[in-house]
Symmetry: C2
Subunit: 259 residues, 2 copies
Amino acid sequence: MTLWHDSLVLEPKGSGHFKAEISDAWNSGSQPNGGYLAALALNAMSLNTPFPDAVASSAFYLSAATVGEADIEVKELRVGRTTASYEASITQGKLRTRVTATFAELGSTSNGIEFKSDLPPTLSPREECVRFPHKLESGVPLRISEHVEMLINPNTDVENAQMLQTAWWRFADGADPDGLSAVLAVDSFIPVVFALGVGTWCPTLELSTHLRARPAPGWLRVQRRTRLLSQGFFEEDASVWDSNDVLVMQSRQLAKMGV
Amino acid sequence: MTLWHDSLVLEPKGSGHFKAEISDAWNSGSQPNGGYLAALALNAMSLNTPFPDAVASSAFYLSAATVGEADIEVKELRVGRTTASYEASITQGKLRTRVTATFAELGSTSNGIEFKSDLPPTLSPREECVRFPHKLESGVPLRISEHVEMLINPNTDVENAQMLQTAWWRFADGADPDGLSAVLAVDSFIPVVFALGVGTWCPTLELSTHLRARPAPGWLRVQRRTRLLSQGFFEEDASVWDSNDVLVMQSRQLAKMGV
């Protein structure tokens, strides 16, 4: 059992409820990682769906989850011939996170027509990249960097000016990535706009992830970008490519500027 | 009363339920517009929230809605000091659309730090643009084009190659745009990948919209782009600028290739 899969274990309690133990392994500061929370909810949905891939998911973060026990309740919204949709609520006394998702089977409905316009980003060799720190300058610990190797492309003027960052990403214990770990990958980093002084904790309101392909074994490459920080909010888009140069995930989150 | 606001009228039925009359005015083919359905749900939420702006919204399309009567049920997920979140279910016997959204007040938490990297697209003058058709080549009527003026930037090789399209957009009756009409605007057009022969009806699984500013009166400019069509699915991102060159909305949808 890898640490990631161990962190996703769910104990069925009946009537669509599961007991989960929210791990501190993926924390930034004292906060459980938002991508990890979404992956927990998607994992609970996946236990009873006829389709393997969480192609579309949207997580709303309603109150700050804490490390430790949580209840996850899954409700079926619709099960159709080619897709199935669910909602999941992560609760710790209070509702923490609400996730809605649609599952399907990638590739099953393709008629062979394909189009891709984005090439994977060109990254410096891993030995020239900058290791994601174990803590912020403020001293806030980033425990996730003990369990994920994140190697940031050395900053270029272009990337800095565009509020764009690219990085290599893999589990430190050698586990291969799957669709759920891509949801962790897009939310593993510090927001690129932290460089502008937006605060040290910017709560995510919503995170949507679209799984476009199942990742091949090996390193992922994650590119993140913010186009607009305004009126107290900013978005962050992430794209994830696998070791075969396939775009496996697109995500977008809206976050509130820290105070 | 403008046609748009007339289309959003809700009759309170108690216990969070509203009766809606889904208009055919925004149809593409026989299908009610997905952005319009999301706007109906957001409008129902807005009647009882303390915050004016639906900053983050995600709509899952579960079964095909039809023109005519529908029930919309709103449930409160959390009301906090600066944000409030709700879910809304649009039902016609069967659950049609589930929308989750967080409301806030744009600008209320800003500390003045701003960043923007995307300039509004350069569009040809409106008299040189191509009017969105009243029907598809296949004969499918696009009733929305009777009620919205959509003027497509004449195709350039660059835009075609990038599966990108930009257009002017405004209500035909002269109504000024608001946050809800931006949700209609992002979903008003034919998917840009239709040119590749993906089918004539590509159902949207999920549409997420982030309202970044309240639109100023006047024309909107909408830019839409698909980066990946693969394994039977494609995404479409849209950005909307108002007449003051402000980016007012970012949206993303995942759709299934038609059969």
